[in-house]
């Protein structure tokens, strides 16, 4: 089921964005601060009503899709790691089952195991480290078994080992047919792990395509206004400035 934005405008943050995302692959959304990345992700999650244009899942407009049904198909992970109460980890991950109206243990256990946090299940939320919290919150998304995973900076609070583990997991989700959309600040992560990169600048699409093209040196210099070059082999590239 495709995720389609058509001529989407939201407040001053996005103007006239048209984009068709394919399931079964990882799409990275990149861009400078304030480019509209998080806004686009929220719109794809059906949380922001468009001022103009539309967002559709398959052939259905997202805003006429019932909230529960939308929630079963789209798993959304925001950037802010907010956990208001000191609840047990397992109950947080179980919230992913809310759109399904069940508390099946199996998807919850699978999600906990996939993120290597099965041993945290009985811990309390406020006793977790930043990296553990990030994994618990992603496990909540996975427990809902969504067709699309929409994550805003999921790697930000993780150490390098957990970043790689998480990217491996997202890759296997994509291989299993899920659509994965990630907002990423780290361009090297996008370059090495995404199938497609969408670069936003001031609410518009500045580049879109395979990593090599969309994150081409010239695009980065034009959009971010810093001189850079890529080094290393494809799949293992690093970005150096100057």
């Amino acid at each position: 089921m495709r995720l389609v934005a058509h001529d989407l405008s939201i407040a001053e943050r996005l103007s006239g964005v048209s984009l068709t995302l394919e399931p079964g692959s990882i799409t990275a959304i990149c861009g400078p601060n304030g480019a509209g990345k998080s806004t686009l992700l929220e719109a794809f999650a059906g949380l922001l009503p468009p001022d103009a244009g539309s967002v559709a899942l398959g052939d259905r407009d997202l805003h006429s899709t019932p909230a529960k049904e939308r929630a079963r198909l789209l798993g959304y992970l925001p950037q802010a790691h907010e956990i208001a109460w000191d609840v047990p980890v397992r109950s947080l991950v179980e919230l992913g089952r809310l759109p399904h109206g069940d508390r099946r243990a199996e998807p919850v256990d699978t999600a906990l195991a996939a993120l290597d946090i099965a041993d945290l299940a009985d811990r309390r939320a406020q006793s977790l480290s930043g990296g553990e919290t990030a994994r618990v919150l992603l496990a909540r998304v996975l427990a809902g078994e969504p067709r699309w995973i929409l994550a805003d900076e999921p790697l930000a609070a993780l150490d390098i080992a957990h970043q790689l583990a998480l990217l491996r997991h997202l890759r296997s989700a994509a291989d299993a047919g899920a659509g994965v959309v990630l907002v990423l600040h780290d361009l090297a992560h996008a370059m090495n792990n995404a199938d497609r990169v969408v670069v936003l600048d001031e609410g518009r699409i500045a580049a879109d395509g395979a990593c090599d093209n969309a994150l081409d040196q010239q695009v980065i210099e034009r959009v971010w206004k810093v001189p850079v070059r890529w080094i290393g082999e494809p799949g293992h590239r690093a970005l150096v400035t100057g």
Binding site: G46, L47, A71, Y76, A84, W85, V87, L92, R124
Partner: protein
Amino acid sequence: MTRATLIFAALLALALPLSLLAGRVWLDPATTPNAALILADLRLPRALLAVVVGAGLGASGAAMQGYLRNPLADPGLFGIAPGAALGAVAALWFGYAAAPFLLPLFALVGAGGAMALLAAIAGRTGGIALFTLAGLMVASLAGALTALAISLAPNAFAMSEIVMWLNGALTDRSWREVWLAAPLVALGVVLLWRSGRALDALTLGEPVARSLGVDTRRLLWLLIAGIGLTVGASVAVAGIIGFVGLIVPHLVRPLTDRRPSQLIVPSALAGALLVLVADSVVRILPLVTELRLGIALSLLGAPFFLWLLLRLRRGLA
């Protein structure tokens, strides 16, 4: 049934018969003259009313804290209690206090007015910040109008009656008040209980809750109706009884797994217990005139709140 529910249900079952015997005159069913009459017509309705009022205030406090994701929230903040109080004060102002049902009816109209105002301002978008601000404004408007009514009271008697009534109490209440408040509070608690799963989802913030399919507007309506019914009915029959909605969820929370949904029913039971015990204590205290329950609970509640702030401050430092 969770551990907290069991504990408070057991304590309540224990406290209820004791409270029936407690009073300025301790009742001995075997020897006290007219014991059956005193029990059936005076002490039982009063005890049940304490249970009803406390349950409503406890449950609404738990739901409110869950909704605002803030342990310092109190249902009194939302203008429904002040709205109900304003209605009751109007009844007293016009000298309707003696007519049965008129004062609670006025109070319910006041609570309904506050609910309608809240819904009209914040119900369309379902935003938490807007709801909070609207509630604070409704509360301060109702408070100002109440103060105005007191200062313009037609005579000194009406004024003292209003001031006395505002400090809630359960003295001289009858079955009439129980029959009025019990169904409204029960319905309100059910509505609040039904909001539990949505409140759990709100633990992760509003955007995540919405992404999980929570209809935040429906949630807001559930809460306005639930809190309106519980708090409105409580104020209508007992006047303003503060701090129960604030203290009770705190006492209960450590006994639960801290999910908001798990807090609502035990908080109703614990609220019932607190008001029942407090009302028994004010009856027993050897004072010339009985200490008003509202004052007693505020005397207990304010230091508790300060202690809470101190603890939070230490947590932040």
